[in-house]
Subunit: 315 residues, 3 copies
Amino acid sequence: MGWTRKDLLGLEDLSKEEITLILDTADSFKEVSTREIKKVPALRGKTVVNLFYEPSTRTRVSFEVAAKRLSADVINIATETSSVKKGETLIDTGANIEALKVDIIVMRHNYSGAAIMLAKHVKASVVNAGDGWHEHPTQALLDMFTLREKLGKIEGLNVTIVGDIAHSRVARSNIWGLTKLGAKVTVCAPEMLIPPGIEEMGAKVSHDIDDALRNADAVNVLRMQFERDDGDAFPKQLEYFKNFGITEERLAKVKKNIIVMHPGPINRGIEMSSEVADGANSVILEQVTNGIAVRMAVLFLVAQANENIKHEDAD
Amino acid sequence: MGWTRKDLLGLEDLSKEEITLILDTADSFKEVSTREIKKVPALRGKTVVNLFYEPSTRTRVSFEVAAKRLSADVINIATETSSVKKGETLIDTGANIEALKVDIIVMRHNYSGAAIMLAKHVKASVVNAGDGWHEHPTQALLDMFTLREKLGKIEGLNVTIVGDIAHSRVARSNIWGLTKLGAKVTVCAPEMLIPPGIEEMGAKVSHDIDDALRNADAVNVLRMQFERDDGDAFPKQLEYFKNFGITEERLAKVKKNIIVMHPGPINRGIEMSSEVADGANSVILEQVTNGIAVRMAVLFLVAQANENIKHEDAD
Amino acid sequence: MGWTRKDLLGLEDLSKEEITLILDTADSFKEVSTREIKKVPALRGKTVVNLFYEPSTRTRVSFEVAAKRLSADVINIATETSSVKKGETLIDTGANIEALKVDIIVMRHNYSGAAIMLAKHVKASVVNAGDGWHEHPTQALLDMFTLREKLGKIEGLNVTIVGDIAHSRVARSNIWGLTKLGAKVTVCAPEMLIPPGIEEMGAKVSHDIDDALRNADAVNVLRMQFERDDGDAFPKQLEYFKNFGITEERLAKVKKNIIVMHPGPINRGIEMSSEVADGANSVILEQVTNGIAVRMAVLFLVAQANENIKHEDAD
């Protein structure tokens, strides 16, 4: 089966076969970054625009590195300097970027659904690099890639996601992707951080971290955002760590080879202890490495599918 | 006739033949952006610096894409991070950039004449990407390229420019360029937005939009800047739209195939209605596409001329 | 002798032979920037990250140009958009960048010793682009390269460094480098701008500029930072210029061919007169040109050494 979509907007709409195809393609691209000359000509002469409406170093840099290792030309646009400031709508911005004859727009946006809307209005491929609380598909794909690489499969795994589920596009994309590939997902958080409808997505809910970790093959620990201006931030962080933080003590009571993941950047001593972050179970830095391979695969697949669509249109 | 200038500073000094040469060269570069591999080696190993003293996404990105499609290396310098903040003069900045052995400096600056001053002090080519209220030659060239492509010629055309003529480098460059190529230019705006001396440049003045559109083959609609802090901004915008906005009603009374242009970004409902912006007469997105071809042509021509100048100096 | 270090962190630890090797390698790279096609494939397929925690246009651009002329892919990360804002430690940032399989991290940081710490924690090469008041080795190397090119040697030269020695990483790196290669260094400044321990580094101290220039073959004039908010800034600048500014009058009393250097950007009328800055003794713009060659040499040498280290590890 080949990839036929011009865009990657989320995992909700993808089939098991499509997700597997991305992971398999990423497998073959992973080797490129281990070469002395870390470059393949797959996207030579293609233009990739990183259109970021939210500040992000990690995701932007990961996509930029991935695109350059595919030999694409990369243009960075950050909202700070964008014509968005002049009040232009997203659709106008998209139309203008498209008119530059770019091939792929990688977009991060603070509104849920922004990538879907953009994709409908441009012929260029759109890759969602995070839209509001909706989806962050390449993050979930790199999490799944890492899981599969470490544990040999995803089907049948018990994966626990800990943290602010309600405001997490990473959690949502992981739930869609993991359940499609046959994993069982448990989300664990204080009640106010569990969104309504999460069980309809296929996830079990727990408010007890030890319980949620008991049979887990992997735990994906989300970043917690505490308001800096909140005078209670520090006591709240301490309480969160006490009740939900991943520690060596907690890991001592669960499966010995449990995989610990985190999308980064880690708040050490809030979401997990430093010992866990740097410990034998942690695959956090491997996730970063795999992010390049997964994003190379996604950029490659959507560009290729878009070429095919154009050729069919021309026939 | 060949191109012999190391710089492109404005259209005022160019001959009809020089302008035509740029447009003809852009014709041949336009095809590059339609290829699967959108890249030619014309500027391989050349360094292009985008030196922007004013925030601009559109123009910066257009030049960056153009330079990369010519295989040049591109370095972006924005004032936010520039040593300008440390009080360095433009001439010192230019000398320092030149000392990096760059080939082309693309500069946007808030002072009229800045590009002319820079060009006198550096051997590198200087391309004016907008200097104060003075000139924005590549914008006017892409407007003229689009006109010529749509209507087959520029000579004899009636072109109306609507909006804040007094503070518009786009208007000035268009007037110089269009009149040199034999078009008749009418500018249309409220009296306070018409600068003194505009008729000496060769333009007719009108304060009545319907009158100004009557025989127009094309209308170039400028962006209006209303101060956000102005409590009267909204009523002023409504009044402007009522008196000068381009609407379907107005277009129904003029030449059926009138070309509607805008340098972007559009304020829908202020300068023109959405129906017009997206309608059959609008070539606004084609202008963006043509901007790449025109900027590729300009970068190519000035670089080539500068090589020739160096070779002559060396003889 | 070959270069064996994976990093360039400072000149304090380097031997005379190592410094000479960098300068000799820079000699051979200088020619590249004079070619029509200013590019060699030495670092093709390598990734260079410019990680700048302090704003800097000159040094960032110089490294970016150098890396691109070696055909490397360059990724710029500025603190404004970095995850540092989210509280990530430098070590975590380093680990994450390393996980992207980058080859070289060029870092500027406001803390002395930051580059050393980073280099210990990553396998990628680290090039110090300025760390606090500690070292700025590539600046000193380009100063020495320029001196050697102009005067044929460094051994036995009398070099005077004028300005705020106490807060200058440029001064420190120059003192280490110059004394290792056999030059005699005099630092000259008001007493409060001379740091303790400077004589142990091998420099002579003077508070009299005319005295300090008397036998100098070269004078390296540092940038003075006067607080803008200080109401006394202007009288202080005038006084500094009177007592320490380099003027044609002062140069008339010293060696005719004295070399005048400055790391830029110059404050004309504070550190030196405009006549001196643009005069026959000034090599300030040549320093900028040589900075490209020196940085190409450094990037090339550390990348090559790192490849060798990896191969040995693999054996």
